[in-house]
């Protein structure tokens, strides 16, 4: 693998990681601004937005009277899968769980920044020709720990989210509400794979030392 390919792939990975920090921050900022605008609809005032996934009960398909209308006038029936329910503050008592979710997100973001830092260090080390060195094994271990911490925090915030939605007791005969949280399969997979690669790298260091001391 030549240097140009390594550097190009590394740049792409770093950009993706940086966007995964930057975009949520920007979206959070927009949401914050939107929430504090003067809404004319009374329903939005003093309400907490709760993001939910809608699932029809008893295998029913949603009856829908909403349509997606294209610019040329075509109408397509539309089923809603996700929604944001504006729950009045008086009915919303889960601020502790909110803090769990926010804290998890904050610590995840720090873990992601640390991950990017170590990833850049690994690329610099490889570019200098220092490939099978003990420092790189420590870096790989650090990267895997960051990923596993992010996965664990995601699971914690997912449990908190489910608990928060469940405690609202928003029942309906036709729709069941679920959390929009998804199990962090990719973080777990890549975290454990990186841990495995670190062990293989350690073996590589042993083989390199053996090779260097074979005359």
């Amino acid at each position: 693998m030549n240097k140009i390919l390594i550097n190009t792939l590394s740049t792409v990975i770093i950009l993706i990681l940086a966007c995964s920090i930057g975009i949520p921050i920007v979206l959070f900022g927009f949401n914050f601004i939107e929430k504090n605008k003067n809404f004319t609809e009374i329903a939005y005032l003093n309400s907490t937005p709760v993001e939910v996934i809608l699932s029809p009960k008893n295998n029913k398909i949603f009856e829908t009277n909403t349509h997606f209308i294209t610019s040329d006038g075509q109408k397509y029936p539309m089923m809603t899968k996700a929604a944001i329910i504006m729950v009045p503050e008086s009915h919303y008592n889960n601020h502790t769980l909110d803090w769990v979710i926010i804290t998890s997100m904050f610590i995840s973001m720090i873990a992601l920044i640390i991950l990017i830092y170590y990833f850049v260090r690994l690329i610099i080390s490889i570019n200098k020709g220092r490939i099978f060195v003990r420092e790189n094994v420590k870096i790989l271990n650090a990267i895997s720990i960051c990923l596993l911490i992010m996965a664990f925090l995601s699971i914690c915030s997912g449990i908190a989210d489910y608990m928060a939605i469940g405690s609202l007791n928003l029942s309906s005969s036709e729709i069941s509400l679920g959390s929009s949280w998804e199990f962090p399969w990719s973080n777990l997979l890549i975290g454990f794979t990186t841990l495995l690669i670190a062990q293989i790298w350690k073996r590589g260091i042993y083989l390199r030392e053996d090779s260097e001391l074979t005359i």
Binding site: E209, D210, L213, T214, I215
Partner: protein, 72 residues
């Protein structure tokens, strides 16, 4: 380590320096020094053949096995 490298003994007998031997073997003096000081983990047959050819000796003159003393 139980395998002792007696390269320095053979070099003294043949009156050849480390640098000269390394040059004749086409390896760096630092690599030969690793072998001479017993820090090497392994030696290739080709290297051993090269040494024996240059120093006109047998592998047994270069390598010696000494059983490590077990603690009582």
């Amino acid at each position: 380590m139980p395998i002792i490298v007696n390269l320095d003994v053979m070099m003294a007998k043949r009156k050849i320096s480390l640098g000269d031997l390394a040059e004749k073997m086409h390896i760096t003096p630092s690599n030969l020094s690793i072998l001479k000081t017993g820090k090497a983990k392994a030696i290739r047959f080709s290297t051993l053949e090269n040494i024996c050819s240059i120093l006109d000796c047998q592998p047994a003159d270069i390598l010696e096995y000494r059983k490590s003393e077990e603690p009582e």
